[in-house]
């Protein structure tokens, strides 16, 4: 589904990604772990088209997407839930969600209304707050909106970066429950998460990153691989 080969990227003088290789199969949840600054977020942003100074190859269902504009990449079915949520503060909850409808072209009004309804069913709290401005939401609600906003686009692959950062434990539970549900519905997920222990509950495969490279790849359900991961990222 997603194939990354020898991906390099530069931020000014720093060589952030130094040859990332990563494969993601349909319906699979892959966890990308590592300390701060090793290139996890940069990898996500490169896939989403936010970073243009890249070399190497990123293919999605056989099509090269490296260097495409972000709006072209999302049209292929890749949804991005970035670090910090990036909710638009000057838009209402509903406007934020409706913007997400643009990820998928060619749907009828009824199909779009159904997609919005599904998102509200998944996150009833957003429905209660649909007229509130994005800026008035709590951190947990913003995270829910960031996920819901991508889901209304009916995306097949979800890139989810640090979804539980700074959230209360109860909200963290909710977010993980939602991600498990999305996985069971067939979404492929590339997850970056600092809460490694929780993330291991839903990941099929695990990767450890260090200095811009993936240094270890393993089975998310194998205890030996989990131990090796913990050692590799030293947590």
């Amino acid at each position: 589904m997603l194939e990354i080969r020898d991906l390099h990227s530069h931020y000014g003088f720093s060589h952030v990604l130094q040859g990332v290789n990563l494969t993601l199969r349909p319906g699979e949840c892959v966890g990308l772990f590592g300390r701060n600054g090793v290139g996890k977020t940069t990898t996500m942003r490169a896939i989403a088209g936010w970073i243009k100074q890249i070399s190497g190859s990123i293919t999605y269902n056989g099509q090269e997407i490296g260097g495409l504009a972000s709006n072209a990449i999302c049209r292929l079915g890749i949804g991005f839930v970035p670090e910090d949520r990036r909710i638009f503060p000057g838009l209402t909850v509903e406007e934020n969600l409706k913007l997400g409808l643009m990820q998928t072209a060619g749907r009828s009004g009824a199909q779009e209304a159904a997609a919005l309804e599904r998102a509200y069913d998944l996150f009833p709290r957003l429905k209660q707050r649909y007229r509130q401005m994005g800026t008035t939401l709590s951190g947990g609600e913003q995270q829910m909106l960031a996920i819901a906003r991508v889901l209304v686009g009916d995306q097949k692959l979800l890139l989810i970066d640090e979804p539980t950062e700074g959230l209360a434990p109860q909200i963290v539970d909710e977010i993980f429950a939602i991600m498990r549900k999305l996985k069971s519905e067939g979404h492929a997920i590339l997850l970056v998460e600092q809460n490694v222990k929780r993330a291991l509950d839903i990941t099929d495969r695990i990767c450890a990153m260090e200095r811009g490279r993936i240094i270890l790849e393993g089975d998310g359900n194998s205890q030996a691989d989990r131990d090796a991961l913990m050692k590799a990222i030293a947590v």
Binding site: A48, G49, W50, A69, S70, N71, I73, C74, R75, F80, P82, R86, F88, P89, G90, L91, E95, N96, K98, L99, G100, L101, M102, Q103, T104, A105, M133, G134, T135, R149, V150, G153
Partner: protein
Amino acid sequence: MLDYMQFVLAPQMLNGFAFGIAIVLMALGLTIIFGLLDVINMSHGEFFAIGAYAGVVLLASGVNFWVAVALVPLLMLPVGVLTERLLVRQVFDSADRHTLTLLLTLGLSMIFYDGLKMVFGPNPLRPDNPIPGGIEVAGVFLPAYRMFLIFLGAAIIAAVWAIIYKTSLGAMIRAAAFDRNMASSLGVPVSAVYSATFAFGTALAGLAGILLAPIFSVFPTMGHEFIVIAFTVVIVGGMGSIKGAVLAGLLLTQVQAIASLIISPVWTDPILFGIMVLVLMFRPQGLFGRLGHG
């Protein structure tokens, strides 16, 4: 006292109001372009002048004034699209975006200014007033064209507000103004939104140009003169704020209109700039927040 109100103060405030509405049209384009693209468009004044001259040319070739008012903004659209695509976009992604776009649009304004002078000469041209005369209400004479300008301008301002805050296009503009990467990742065609918004702002400037032409006449330096007030309005209202542009535009032009009854009109500009300096000292972000920033 009543005479003073009827014959001096009220007409002066009405003139100020008509002028204020036109300034708001100009400031709106400026503030939307800044709010969305983060570009300080120094050629906005010349777009205003080009709109006025386009009106003069259309009128001279026999086009009816009302048709010209509808045509000028449409003719300005490609000017805006070309400026954004061929010039602004070339330097948009550089680290020095503010300086480069400022210098670029300043250079462009000089070219337009000299171009207008070369083609039309330095002397003012004045289109005929399309609605001469007026009506009297409570003893106050209301010039018909100025009243028309106020109503049309208010309708356009309301329409701009509705487009930005009540339509999906407006939601795209507000989203891209806040975070273009995120907007793009949700499918917003950010590049097209940039061009369209730049063109829209240009069309508003051109419209203000032709609407003011019968009152203030048309001359090559008109862009320079009006852009200074429009910039003051945008800075006082808050760079990138639509509400700010409307309120500051109407307020500052009233201050100017009333002050010119008390002191010499040449001293009214320093009063406006004084207000701007005070706002910059005590509330540098302006009265209201930036487009899309909540």
